[in-house]
């Protein structure tokens, strides 16, 4: 049986602990609010001699991801962390990490993107990276940020995946709030994550290889991209089986989506990240009044769990998709676009309304979530228009 330490910890602290237990060979990182405490805590682990990691301080996020790519190609286990403008600044190298099939693990503290300048939570940064080929997890709590980060190393380094993984948690809300958390003993977690044996290391002098090759006109490039798409698809069943393995150790379930009240729900909210707790609270209040309310929280955004979502929403009269980012010029925001896709082939499609909420850390109050369920009642009765609404201000 694993030994469990119960502690009051922030999400950043728990990600730092997961990193310490995975003990990457290299961490190259640049500080940015509200992620800084992750790499700061790790710098202390290095300074205190608790880990044997080469900690590389760099001059920018573009450099941190570039250093991670070099180290990963060299055969090292690699991790880093970033947020917001830092993630945006990494954009071109994010594609390279995925295209070179390098199993880098990166924590992202989800934060708004300028302009206007804002340091608080939303998902605009991650959604800007959704098509870069990374596996993307969304945590609701500090505990889940820990669990997701531990699992991330296994997913990334799995021979049928070999892709970078982004383990995200909501800026300030999950990164900074103290929660009751359970930390598993190092031995158990190290045994779960295992040792990383790179398939083709640049530092293997007996078997010299070339990384980051040129792929000629069309053919080879398209073949490599098809392989990358398949690898990301491969990640789905692997995430599920590793989630089962982790659940057997720690007792916390892990699935692609987390459902509350969906067995018989007529009105459902689909949401990502920390605001799901408030949505469940409101759904619970409505249940007490006889309203069949439910919540579906998407835990894995890439690869997206289309079938699971369609199954969860079958039989629902009306769905509110709550997005913490927008896709300007599109009919719907990023999460809603996926929900529309998931339901396109459903025999009976529920009415759908898309809400953009909580941008730049705007409060997600119980009142406005009640408003969402009230709208759904009207939507199902044909008394409200579908379409996109900026929640609380429109």
């Amino acid at each position: 049986m694993p030994k469990v330490t119960t502690l009051a910890a922030s999400g950043n602290q728990m990600v730092g602990e997961a990193f310490r237990q995975a003990e990457p060979d290299v961490i190259a990182a640049y500080p940015i609010t509200p992620q800084t405490a992750i790499v700061e805590s790790y710098a202390k682990f290095v300074a205190d001699g608790r880990v044997h990691t080469e900690f590389v301080t760099v001059e920018s996020e573009h450099s941190s991801m570039s250093a991670c790519i070099g180290a990963s190609a060299a055969g090292a286990r690699v991790a880093t962390a970033t947020s917001s403008q830092g993630l945006a600044y990494m954009w071109e190298v994010l594609h390279i990490a995925a295209g070179m099939r390098l199993p880098i693990v990166m924590a992202n503290a989800n934060r708004a993107i300028a302009a206007p300048i804002n340091i608080h939570c939303d998902h605009s940064d991650v959604m800007g990276a959704r098509d870069t080929g990374w596996v993307i997890f969304f945590a609701e709590t500090a505990q889940e940020a820990y669990d997701n980060t531990v699992i991330s190393f296994r997913v990334a380094e799995h021979p049928d995946v070999l892709l970078p993984v982004m383990t995200t948690l909501d800026g300030f809300i999950t990164t900074h709030a103290m929660e009751r958390c359970e930390l598993l003993d190092d031995e158990t977690v190290k045994a779960f994550i295992g040792e990383y044996k790179p398939k083709h290391s640049l530092l293997d002098l007996e078997n010299p290889v070339g990384h980051g090759m040129f792929a000629n006109l069309g053919g080879a490039y398209m073949q490599a991209k098809l392989a990358e798409r398949r690898a990301l698809d491969n990640a789905a069943p692997i995430i599920k089986s590793l989630g089962d393995e982790w659940a057997a150790i720690c007792g916390r379930s892990f699935d692609m989506i987390d459902c509350w009240g969906m067995e018989d729900a007529e009105y459902a909210i689909v949401i990502l990240g920390s605001a799901a707790g408030n949505a469940r609270h409101v759904a619970r209040e409505l249940r007490a009044q006889g309203v069949k309310a439910g919540v579906v929280r998407v835990r894995v955004f890439r690869p997206f769990p289309y079938a699971e979502l369609a199954e969860a929403l079958s039989g629902v009269k009306a769905v509110a998709v709550l997005d913490r980012s927008d896709s300007f010029g599109a009919q719907a925001a990023p999460l809603a676009l996926e929900v529309y896709t998931a339901l396109f082939d459903a025999p009976v499609r529920p009415a759908i309304r898309n809400y953009v909420y909580g941008l730049g850390g705007a409060d997600v109050t119980l009142e406005i979530l009640h408003q969402v369920y009230d709208d759904l009642d009207k939507l199902a009765a044909g008394e409200a228009n579908p379409g996109l609404v900026y929640l609380g201000i429109q």
Binding site: G99, M100, R101, L102, L162, K199, H200, P208, V209, G210, H211, M213, A215, G219, A220, Q223, A224, L226, A227, R230, A231
Partner: protein
């Protein structure tokens, strides 16, 4: 000589590529002949050559043959005809001629 069989490369499917499209054998660019890219070629005058090695130092494609400290010729399988060797030569031992005028040239 190759330990990595790429003979059927043109028919490879995505699963035939190593992950990340890495190259499993270092230094195999020697097998990729680039001489056909030339429109002009450098021609060497052995009698004028002082074997100073300036051409060898400056050639970006390692296409100057050298043996026992002496220049011995040009690797036309890989020379792309950039003309840097001709520019650097201090003894008029190298000159550029149109590929079409060369014996066995690309455009012959």
């Amino acid at each position: 000589m190759s330990k990595w069989d790429v003979s059927n490369f043109d028919n490879w499917k995505s699963e035939d590529y190593p992950e990340g499209a890495i190259c499993l054998e270092a230094g195999n660019s020697v097998q990729y002949l680039t001489g056909g890219w030339r429109s002009d070629r450098p021609v060497w005058d052995e009698n004028a050559c002082k074997h100073c090695m300036l051409c060898w130092m400056h050639c970006p494609d390692a296409s100057i043959y050298v043996s026992d400290g002496k220049m011995t010729g040009i690797d036309y399988d890989h020379c792309k005809g950039c003309g840097i060797c001709v520019h650097e030569c201090r003894f008029d031992a190298l000159k550029m001629i149109p590929e079409a005028d060369a014996e066995g040239g690309n455009h012959a």
